[in-house]
């Protein structure tokens, strides 16, 4: 068919013109032409509509599996914004306006300066069913609201690792939020809250369930959901374990135990694992988890969280060397590993440039700090305390009880034996672990018990040293791990029980001085002493109940 006539030598019309001319030429349409037009229209329409639908379907599919919850969360984000605006006291119309038309919710002004320490929070599932590790969605929301209102910002996994290594400064009031296990309930109820508040969090995933078993479960997140998390920009993914979140046979009689802290029973060869096999197995699991997460995210995995936060430290293992092997293996692969904070540790936060390999995470459990105020208060207590420090003990500014029980009331800190810890009690001041050279004094009354101690240079379970006073003696005793060493012991007559005494310690480098009524009783130098550490008090009686009251605590740099 000749579509156009171009006289020879004439200016050739543009293809646009030709097309227009072809379109507008009146020609006797046969049915055949019409059929071709309809075929073209049909193909175009079909491609367009089916393309849109399947494109849309694939988009939904690739973004997320649980469409209804995802779509719901889109609206949920706005609701959370509104709720937050109401929470910080905006009027209803303002809250609506801000929720609808601003990207971020307003927060307290960011505090100036850099953070010395960062608290690490641990959540598991955000769900309503009864489980001590579940935090209800309402509690979670209020905790996040409280953090936001108090001016907290959240940090990424890499930032945390660099902060610990002293490679990156973080704003004051930073918090590192982590979730373990990669469950659906740690994502769907959480995501809109993070999204609304501009927060971020890190999910420690079980690569077997979250990545290898593609969408195979209604409990664990699938790879596709992890993709959605990555794309959201406010989630970091780090390895938890590959296959180590289940229980395995750890003895010939089939007792089951945790994967990491125990040697496993090899039923095929009817024996326990050898040291080498154990080391290879745990290393391989970490390496597999690390590799799979890295392949998934396309960037290096820097952190590792031990399943059940257990490396076999507390006699929970059938292999005494497990903690050392695990620590060595983890250190080869990661920049930091996640453990659990326990009350009475000298610090609840991790410090800048501390190169502290294990992060002790503050675990949020069901019913704990429901309205979020307690959480903010606790994090505030954990901040590094500057010197000089004078504690009038009107409120608890960070005293945590390592064992026994304790209370801060009416200017007095009271510690004593409890139903579970019958031999005594210990109190540690959270946020004091950065102190190095100082003099600490306090007015102390031993109400009941045989002795009490003033503790210093607390470094978790690794180290502590203290001046211990009894009815007719005093001593300087050091504790490293589970080993107690009495460095010096002297008789000291006339220490009045039931009478307030002003006692103290003076720390300087590797030296500890014990003070009584301002006088130096003794001075001991311990080369193993770390340059800094927290302070605390303890009370002890092997057979009877014990009780100690402490007042007017004063710490002055020296």
């Amino acid at each position: 068919m000749k579509l156009w006539n171009v006289p020879s030598g004439a200016h050739h019309p543009s293809y646009l013109q030709l097309g227009a001319r072809w379109l507008y030429t009146r020609r006797p349409h046969g049915l055949r032409t019409r059929m071709y037009v309809h075929r073209a229209a049909y193909v175009a329409l079909s491609l367009a509509v089916c393309g849109l639908i399947y494109g849309g379907a694939y988009w939904l599919y690739s973004y997320n599996l649980d469409n209804t919850r995802t779509i719901g969360n889109f609206f949920e984000t706005y609701r959370v914004r509104y709720d937050y605006n109401r929470y910080i006291g905006e009027s209803r119309p303002d809250a609506v306006r801000d929720a609808m038309f601003t990207d971020r919710v307003s927060a307290a002004p960011m505090p100036a300066g850099y953070a010395t320490s960062v608290p690490v929070l641990l959540y598991h599932r955000v769900a309503t069913d009864k489980d001590v590790y579940n935090v209800t969605p309402g509690d979670f929301k209020h905790q996040m609201f409280a953090l936001k209102k108090a001016g907290y910002t959240t940090v990424s996994a890499d930032d945390y690792a660099n902060f610990i290594a002293g490679k990156k400064r973080l704003p004051a009031k930073s918090v590192f939020i982590t979730f373990d296990d990669g469950t659906k309930d740690s994502y769907y109820p959480v995501d809109p809250v993070l999204s609304a508040l501009g927060f971020r969090a890190t999910e420690f995933v079980i690569t077997k369930y979250n990545i290898e078993d593609f969408a195979g479960s209604h409990y664990y997140l699938s790879a596709i959901e992890l993709h959605a998390m990555q794309r959201s920009g406010h989630w970091d993914l780090e390895p938890h374990t590959d296959i180590g979140h289940s229980y395995y046979a750890i003895s010939s009689n089939g007792t089951k135990g945790e994967f990491y802290p125990n040697k496993l029973w090899l039923s095929a060869s009817h024996r326990m694992e050898t040291d080498a096999e154990y080391a290879a197995r745990v290393y391989n699991d970490m390496a597999t988890a690390k590799r799979e997460v890295e392949q998934f995210t396309g960037k290096p995995a820097t952190l590792f969280a031990f399943p059940f936060a257990d490396i076999g430290e507390n006699d929970s293992s059938n292999y005494h060397n497990a903690p050392n092997v695990l620590t060595a293996a983890t250190k080869r692969l990661f920049k930091a590993a996640m453990m659990l904070y326990y009350p009475g540790r000298d610090r609840s936060q991790e410090y800048y440039n501390s190169n502290q390999f294990y992060a002790y995470r503050i675990q949020l459990t069901q019913g704990l700090w429901s309205n979020g105020q307690g959480l903010v208060a606790f994090l505030g207590q954990g901040d590094a305390k500057p010197l000089p420090y004078n504690d009038r003990l009107a409120t608890n500014s960070g005293w945590e009880y390592a064992w026994g029980k304790g209370d801060v009331q009416n200017g007095t800190l009271t510690i004593g034996s409890s139903g579970t810890d019958k031999t005594g009690a210990g109190a540690v001041l959270d946020g004091s672990s950065g102190w190095s050279d100082y003099t600490m004094t306090a007015r102390v009354t031993l109400n009941q018990g045989s002795s009490y101690g003033l503790l210093a240079r607390l470094q978790g379970a690794d180290y502590r040293i203290g001046c211990y006073f009894g009815a007719n003696y005093f001593s300087v005793t050091r504790s490293m791990g589970s080993a107690f060493t009495t460095l010096q012991e002297s008789d000291l007559d006339g220490l009045a029980v039931n009478q307030p005494q002003t006692v103290g310690v003076r720390m300087h480098g590797h030296t500890i001085q014990c003070l009584l009524n301002g006088e130096v009783l003794t001075e001991v130098t311990d080369p193993a002493m770390p340059p800094s550490g927290g302070i605390g008090f303890s009370v002890y009686d092997a057979t009877h109940p014990s009780s100690l009251t402490i007042q007017d605590i004063s710490v002055v740099a020296s």
Partner: protein, 461 residues
């Protein structure tokens, strides 16, 4: 006062005009809101469809064949609806070009001789009305006649027709067979005896709305067109639930499936109840059509589908027109209905086999965009239905809710188009019922039809 009265007189027609204009505006608005609403519903349904497909991908990611099937069926149904949206334009062009052709031939109107052929057996109740309706057609009386074939009937049908013969005289021809020979020989006899250039095949219980009759003839002005299928609705639609469901099904099957086929001028089945054929196209293939055998036996039913197949095979075009309204009777009890469905399924299987042998050569576009996909869908659907309705609930303890929801969603999309095409058709809710019914019953009918395909008896009525 006088001035006021004069104003009144003057303003009256003006008010009228304003009112009329307002009325028109209101109609326009209401139409807009109606179609706008439908459009919104349609878009929403498509969005839900996308979400459902995503869910299918998720839920069945380990079963890629099921995903493929689901995408395939959805695409097929969607493209049917999309093709049907082009139908209005297509039929308008056919009619307008028919005018152009007549103008070119310098003819006033296209009025060829037309013959109705009514083969029947024992239809004394319906026959009088059917024949009277034929003659009532809006068409010159001298160009219209009827051939009635009594195919071995034993009741008073022939007597009734003989009475009518007195009235219509030469225009009504009666062929009387003492032995029942079957529908195909009856139709062939009709074609042989027909005086007209256009032959209209009519079931004994069907009739064409006289005022729309010319629209059935006009497309034949195109020399390529050999068959035109009228739009048929059940005249007994309101009788019971089953007939209402069938009314919805008829509408969907004509206005969507046949319409979509018609856009490409290849309607695969010009249904026997009311279709017009060009005699000159049918005569050469009549013997082949009559002598058709499948697996060694003559094919009793599916004469309409077979004849249309032959026309397509001989390079003719076949169309469907919704500008002609025909009525037919549909089965009003389940037993008859299932028998009819069985017959149709058998006919479909056999003719699909015949068509598949030539269609890819004759109509490659239709063959690969419609015919073979249709074949595949029809073959697979019963198996998937059995899997979803029986196997999964029994073995995997999965209720077919999701399957039914998908089917209902597609039905809803079709319904939106249904309401676009005909605002007044009231049977659309029954389409959903039909879908459920279809999923539950008709898949099994398919297996039954295959199993009994060698039983060539007519079995209804």
């Amino acid at each position: 006062m006088q001035q006021g009265a004069a104003e009144n007189v003057l303003s009256e027609p003006a008010d009228d005009a304003v009112l009329r204009r307002f009325e028109r505006f209101r109609n326009f608005l209401s139409a807009f809101s109606y179609y706008g609403f439908l459009l919104l519903v349609g878009i929403t349904l498509l969005l839900i469809l996308a979400a459902i497909k995503a869910k299918t991908l998720y839920a069945n990611h380990e079963n890629q064949w099921l995903i493929a099937y689901s995408v395939f069926v959805t695409t097929f149904e969607l493209t049917r609806v999309l093709a049907a949206t082009l139908y209005r334009n297509s039929i308008n062009k056919v009619m307008r070009h028919a005018d152009n052709i007549l103008a070119a031939r310098q003819e006033e109107a296209y009025e060829p001789l037309v013959t109705f052929v009514i083969p029947c057996k024992n239809e004394e109740e319906a026959i009088e009305n059917t024949i009277r309706m034929c003659f009532a057609a809006d068409y010159p009386a001298d160009k219209l006649d009827v051939v009635f074939i009594n195919d071995g009937g034993t009741d008073g049908t022939e007597d009734i027709v003989r009475t009518l013969k007195k009235e219509y005289e030469k225009r009504l021809t009666i062929v009387s067979w003492k032995v029942n020979r079957g529908k195909r020989p009856g139709m062939v006899e009709g074609f042989r005896r027909a005086r007209g250039e256009i032959v209209i095949q009519l079931d004994s219980d069907s009739y064409i709305e006289p005022s729309t009759f010319r629209n059935l003839i006009k497309p034949f002005a195109h020399p390529e067109i050999a068959a035109v299928c009228a739009h048929a609705d059940p005249s007994n639609a309101d009788q019971n639930l089953l007939t209402k469901m069938q009314a919805a099904y008829y509408f969907m099957s004509f206005r969507i499936l046949k319409a979509a086929e018609s856009v490409f001028m290849s309607v695969f089945c010009c249904s026997g109840c009311s279709s017009a054929y060009r005699k000159s196209a049918v005569l050469p293939i009549m013997d082949d059509w009559l002598g058709e055998r499948f697996l060694g036996q003559p094919v009793t039913w599916g004469d309409d589908r077979a004849l249309t197949n032959w026309l397509i095979k001989t390079d003719h075009k076949t169309i469907y027109t919704d500008l002609v309204q025909a009525y037919t009777i549909c089965p009003d009890n389940l037993r008859q209905f299932l028998k009819q469905q069985t017959r149709w399924k058998k006919s479909w299987v056999i003719n699909a086999y015949f068509a598949s042998k030539f269609i890819w050569r004759k109509r490659p576009f239709i063959a690969f965009t419609y015919f073979f996909p249709l074949t595949l869908v029809s073959m697979l659907t019963p198996f998937v239905a059995v899997r979803a309705m029986l196997y999964s609930p029994a073995v995997r303890h999965i209720l077919p809710l999701y399957y039914l929801f998908g089917a209902l969603l597609l039905a809803a999309i079709i319904t939106v188009f249904y309401k676009f095409s005909s605002r007044s058709n009231k049977y659309w809710p029954y389409l959903f019922l039909w879908t459920v019914f279809n999923s539950i019953f008709l898949s099994f009918v398919f297996f039954y039809a295959i199993a009994t395909i060698q039983n060539r008896k007519w079995v209804t009525r």
